[in-house]
């Protein structure tokens, strides 16, 4: 029986007594493209931080590639792009090349160049990260997430700083990675349209699980009409059906 890439059981987390997520259980299989969606403050980023051990869950369990979070050591299998860097200052003396290789012992220059070129920032490799625009920094961070050729890619609001053209290229790339290399993708966004276009599985979060299942099931559920209204159901689900399913 194949092992789930991510599996959570009754995961709960609160900040100083204020509940962020409560009793979240779901599983992501290898090759899935899961979209996590929900309004602002619904606990999407907290959920991701719990999964990655940045904020270890206060209750419940997380398993990565079948191993409990506390015992998991194969972090090079995971590429992560945070919503924003918590502490980057504009005078940080790291070059794009150094940042793309962040956290890697084996800094294969070919992989670094490939990832940077793929994200269109190869020509900036000797520039300091703090000198770049926010959009360029985001592309460098995307390249960093891809450079170790991860089996699981977790992207937390990855395209907020990108222009529409780069955003489309980026999502097409994630779809390609998922389809051709069987990379499991977890995409966090508040944009249900993006989920409809690219993801096959969906977890709708509002501190608790509102819906979990395939996108098609979501389209036919009462949750969809309740949350977005009948018109948005038609637009989003039509868009999803229009892209076809290549898997």
């Amino acid at each position: 029986m194949p092992v789930n890439v991510i599996s959570t059981e009754n995961m709960t987390y609160s900040y100083n007594g204020v509940e962020a997520i409560n009793d979240i259980s779901f599983a992501v299989k290898k090759g899935d493209y899961l979209g996590i969606v929900g309004p602002n403050g619904s606990g999407k980023s907290t959920l991701v931080k719990n999964i990655l051990g940045i904020l270890p869950p206060q209750k419940g369990f997380v398993y990565l590639f079948g191993q409990p979070l506390s015992e998991f050591r194969q972090w090079n299998k995971i590429g992560y792009l945070p919503q924003k860097l918590s502490s980057l200052n504009s005078h940080f003396p790291g070059t794009v090349y150094e940042i793309a290789g962040l956290g890697l012992w084996d800094q294969n220059s070919e992989n670094l160049d490939t990832a940077l070129n793929l994200m269109g920032v190869g020509h900036l490799s000797s520039r300091l990260i703090g000198e770049l625009s926010y959009g360029e920094q985001q592309r460098v961070m995307l390249a960093r997430a891809l450079v170790s050729r991860p089996e699981l890619l977790i992207l937390d609001e990855p395209t907020t700083a990108l222009d529409p053209e780069t955003r489309d290229i980026f999502y097409a790339l994630t779809e390609e990675l998922n389809r051709l290399q069987d990379t499991t993708i977890v995409l966090v966004t508040h944009d249900i349209g993006v989920i409809g276009k690219y993801a096959r599985q969906l977890l709708y979060l509002d501190k608790k699980t509102v819906f979990t299942g395939t996108f098609e099931d979501f389209c036919n559920s009462a949750a969809m009409t309740g949350l977005f209204g009948p018109m948005s159901q038609h637009i989003i689900c039509h868009q999803h059906n229009g892209r076809g399913n290549n898997k």
Binding site: K49, L52, F72, W75, P82, P93, T95, E98, L102, G103
Partner: protein, 277 residues
């Protein structure tokens, strides 16, 4: 006196060697501390060193062992700062301020109990690198080798934690362990640096060379090398000039560091203006 003549004195040789080792160590650690906005930790730990030295002198230990005796107390204090910061109820700067105040208050009380500010205590407050002992020189070399090895061995983790602690955690890096190692190494360095610049100016050794190097907009690795270069240059120049002009070595070294920052900063502004016009 000819310049070459001063290098014949054994105490000058010891001072230069110990100065170079401590300059290198403090500037390497300083790069990580400055970028993580922990610059003032040197100040806090130096104040704790003051309290520890006063306690050691009150007990009546030989000044030869002051450095060794103060080490465990200052290292424990650095762990206290870490614990206070981790609680998230106290900000990092406030945690440093709390431990720092306790250290200096303890120092004032203990030095009063031991009959006021005697020569030994004053020599630690304002530094006297020309009195570096063989034991302190050996300690400087050991800490230099230890820090160099730690930075080489933990470079990947230190760089990641310095860049973004949350991102580093997502890579499986034990960030708490890295933070504790960085603080302990800084504590040891602060104790050793007090003999060079004095307790009052220890933080200058941790802050000024990295800030000067950061003005050059180099890569991370090259910033570390540049900080070491500036720090060593200031220490050697400071020791020589202070000896020749009979000035306090600690203050002279810090003034050289400040002068280097001013020169680099001015050159940077000049080049920027030249590009604009």
């Amino acid at each position: 006196m000819e310049l070459g003549e001063i290098f014949r004195y054994e105490f000058v040789q010891r001072a230069l060697l110990a100065g170079v080792f401590i300059a290198a160590v403090s500037s390497i650690l300083g790069v990580f501390l400055v970028l993580r906005r922990l610059s003032l930790i040197g100040d806090g730990l130096a104040h704790i060193t003051f309290g520890s030295v006063a306690m050691v002198l009150l007990i009546g230990l030989s000044p030869l062992y002051v450095t060794l005796a103060a080490l465990p107390l200052v290292m424990l204090s650095s762990l206290a700062i870490f614990q206070l910061t981790r609680s998230k109820r106290i900000r990092g700067d406030a945690a440093i301020g709390i431990v720092s105040s306790i250290g200096i208050a303890l120092g004032i009380i203990l030095s009063s109990l031991s009959g006021g500010y005697n020569v030994d205590l004053l020599s630690y407050l304002f530094g006297n690198i020309l009195t570096v002992t063989q034991t302190e020189l050996a300690l400087s070399l050991i800490i230099f080798l230890f820090v160099a090895a730690a930075v080489i061995f933990l470079y990947r983790d230190l760089f990641a934690v310095t860049f973004d602690e949350e991102l580093a955690k997502s890579m499986g890096i034990k960030t708490n362990r890295i933070n504790i190692i960085l603080l302990l190494l800084t504590a040891v360095t602060a104790v050793l640096a007090m003999k060079i610049t004095g307790i009052m100016l220890v933080s200058a050794m941790l802050i000024l060379p990295p800030v000067t190097a950061l003005q050059l907009s180099l890569s991370f690795r090259m910033t570390i090398f540049a900080a070491v270069g500036f720090s060593v240059l200031a220490v050697i120049s400071g020791i020589i000039v202070s000896f020749v002009l009979n000035l306090p070595a600690g203050g002279t070294i810090v003034m050289f560091n400040a002068a280097l920052l001013l020169i680099v900063f001015s050159a940077k502004i000049f080049l920027r203006l030249q590009r604009q016009f």
